[in-house]
Symmetry: C2
């Protein structure tokens, strides 16, 4: 029998577990779904199957629950399924949680020793005709993009020896190659990064192993025309701490952010580590090169956003002490000086970026983010993780940082990560649609909104109404229908 | 593309369409599910698949959506699926409503001429190893009780020639025989009743056709040791009115309620029609015989509860004009006098009864109903059909009409129809559990509560928490696990 979940802030209210799998055919729609949209909007949310083994838990440790909005001919069909990880299957069999603290296998039940820790809860992306559920602590889980049936965890037919795999791979717009990596690649709390390039048919084209200056957190990455960049956030992992039942991560206020830079086809000997001031590193907007310099656009925060991973003294900042901006980090890979310079691109907190993926790794102009609009009384929002309270979409001009437009649906709504879909193959950059879930806190249910990306302030072109709430997802992506038919 | 549903009282708020199908494994439970509960609680709710063809609609015209709570070893698994009626399948194909007014085929799209009108939305009962979704306008739909997959509409291998089939058959506790009937059996708006007895293996043991005094509404029935009773409510159907695009039913303030009484094995020549004052007839509690007289316990209301079927002048009473009581109707089948006498059993509105089915058709003591408790501010409840506002469970002693206990979970909750489950095969009458959904209006979600039937005022033994609201069902039933394994 499933005992009650704790009614803690991360497991109650809007974030209470949903735990259901199912389908909703032909969503009720206000407005008109553009006829040129044909594909699926995928997203994955942490949704714990069983109450936490340790009494309570942090939201990023929940089992991955994938949703697909299949859009075609103006119709939208909804489907949601759990990622059937080895962990999910074993816990379902036991009817209870067997895995303990976030990425600390020493707190797991002895019966699951050696079993993959992954929840697959962080991102879902299409590659090689399959949908991949990603979590940076383990190898990815392949799923059928149409049925959302889990196929299984994969090391790409033995080609990927890393024990881990990023949740934020980048796809070269020209070749479709997947640029990806694992950190703690050689083992728990190790400083190893294993970097891979995997072609659209699943063949590993390039591999390089190297070592970080400290065993830090590398949640995202970036690619430019010639380089790959690995931003290391100043958390450290420690095996002895974990063995003692402690947390995987400890915030390190005394450590720099370091940016590993390696040529796309480089080896360990080519890696250089650039340094910037201590900060919490957010999600990659994009990166590009200009006159030999690398520019990396990313939100940086002055202190630890993940307060549930405190520093060595057990300290975490209050939300009011956090100051967050979208930064443009400048790195000159030709210089001996290993300093990364940063300048403010947007002087406001904004996160969960979406760009026109056809302009990845190159000079780009349009980026969409979650941010704050004036309409929301933040005090009315139930206590939630910092990054779940955004109530507006921002359209930022990356040429000059201007926030061109914003849209907030009302005082009782928050938003989830948007994805950008170009209007068509030949459309100019930024000409297309923004798709995202809106949390209707007032009605305890969610909407999928489709916005004209160049006119997000005009409100939705179409709103697909869900009859229930959808917990905040972490990340997701759009896949055009033709990607479902690739040979795999 | 599904256009928006109307935001009318019967299609918004708690009653907004849900339209999803899916599963929730191992429900989160507060308290302890009794280990001796092994079976399924089935219920069916009207849940329109597409916005109404006529602009708006009444709740009883929505597509049947069946839920099953499978309870075993202290666990509860939830499943919900649509009854895939011919109508549901055709409308899904067309992606719009093709059927018009409630039971008026003349308002349907010409493309569905001749197709069964049924939604299967009124009741679900087990018989012959199958789950039957019932609606009184058509033949029943068989479903798999474990998967809820629809098997198909059935005329019992050609044995049932009636075009219709009641949603409230009665099962003889000794033999398991199903006592059932269709009205409008010979055709739309006809006065024909076809009465059947079908044994547990699906074989028709008895059939009789006869004619009502007027083409009225026969929503329920009753059985006693020797008789079958058909209560006819004073609505009339009229083919010409339907052809002109009017309603199936018209309330008739000038007509008596009539009770057709026939010996269990009787023929048309044996039917006698007893008369009582004009009233709205509710759902059968039970019936029994004592010293040759038939006693029929049923809620009666002084005027038309179904205000959406007004009288010939278009009049419907205000809710405040309705006066409802649970009555004991006395009929003496030996007398020439065809008057039915009524006395008040419970002087309060109460409906959706549940009894210990082992005591059907015989002297009984315990009956459970939905009623009103003091805790609820009715003004705070969104406008809903009359019978959806109950906020308490009543335990009535049918020996003397005493309302022994009541339980209301709070000011912001309403309740759905309960079912009674005996504690075990040898348990005394009323010793067991009451299972029902509670609508948590405050949290926009539902609970399944399990009460000790003899102590419903003590609050739930176990509460299984659903993460979403479940629209008000019409009816449901409990089936013990051994019923799933009967040869069919």
């Amino acid at each position: 029998m499933t005992k009650p979940f704790p009614r803690s802030p991360q497991m109650s209210g809007w974030e209470a577990p949903q735990r259901f799998e199912g389908d909703l055919y032909d969503l009720e729609i206000e407005g008109e779904v553009p006829a040129d949209l044909n594909g699926s909007f995928f997203r994955v949310a942490p949704d714990p199957q069983y109450p936490p083994r340790m009494g309570d838990d942090i939201f990023i440790n929940g089992d991955g629950s994938v949703s697909a909005f299949r859009i075609e001919d103006g119709h939208i069909d909804f489907k949601t399924r759990y990622v059937q990880t080895p962990r999910y299957l074993r816990e379902r069999e036991a009817r209870e949680s067997l895995f303990g603290l976030y990425r600390n296998p020493y707190t797991n039940d002895p019966s699951v020793a050696g079993l993959s820790n992954t929840t697959g809860n962080t991102n879902v992306v299409m590659h090689n005709g399959l949908l991949w559920a990603l979590k940076e602590d383990s190898l990815p889980i392949a799923m059928d993009p149409l049925t959302l049936e889990t196929i299984g965890q994969s090391d790409f037919a033995g080609q990927v020896r890393s024990q881990t795999f990023t949740a934020h791979p980048k796809f070269d717009p020209g070749t479709g190659d997947m640029y990806c990596f694992g950190y703690e690649a050689g083992g728990l709390a190790s400083s190893d990064i294993a970097y891979y390039v995997i072609d659209p048919s699943g063949k590993v084209k390039h591999e390089a192993w190297f070592t970080m200056p400290y065993p830090g957190m590398v949640h995202d990455m970036a690619i430019t025309e010639n380089y790959v960049l690995f931003p290391v956030a100043p958390f450290t992992s420690d095996l002895e701490r974990m063995k003692a039942g402690g947390l995987h991560w400890q915030w390190e206020p005394g450590l720099d952010v370091v940016y590993g830079v390696i040529p796309r086809d480089g080896g360990a000997e080519d890696v250089r580590w650039f340094r910037g001031p201590n900060a919490f590193v957010g999600h990659t907007l994009n990166a590009f090169e200009d006159r030999g310099k690398i520019y990396y656009d990313v939100p940086l925060t002055n202190d630890n956003v993940f307060g549930f991973f405190p520093d060595a003294k057990g300290r975490s900042p209050l939300p009011s002490e956090l100051k967050s901006s979208v930064m443009r980090v400048e790195i000159d890979p030709r210089r001996a000086d290993l300093r990364a310079q940063g300048e403010v691109l947007v002087d406001a907190p904004a996160e969960f970026p979406a760009v026109d993926d056809r302009y990845l790794a190159t000079a780009y102009r349009h980026v969409f983010l979650m941010g704050f609009g004036g309409a929301m009384d933040l005090a009315s929002v139930p206590a939630q993780p910092y990054n779940m309270m955004f109530n507006a979409f921002l359209h930022v001009d990356a040429h000059n940082g201007a926030v061109r437009t914003t849209w907030a649906p009302g005082a009782a709504a928050t938003v989830q990560e948007p994805v950008f879909v170009p209007r068509g193959p030949g459309a100019p950059e930024g000409d297309g649609y923004l798709l995202a879930l809106v949390n209707r806190l007032d009605e305890v249910r969610s909407d999928l909104v489709i916005l004209d990306a160049e006119h997000i302030d005009a409100g939705p072109i179409a709103t697909a109404r869900l009859p229930f709430r959808m917990k905040n997802a972490l990340h997701g992506s759009w896949a055009a229908a033709e990607e479902f038919n690739r040979p795999s």
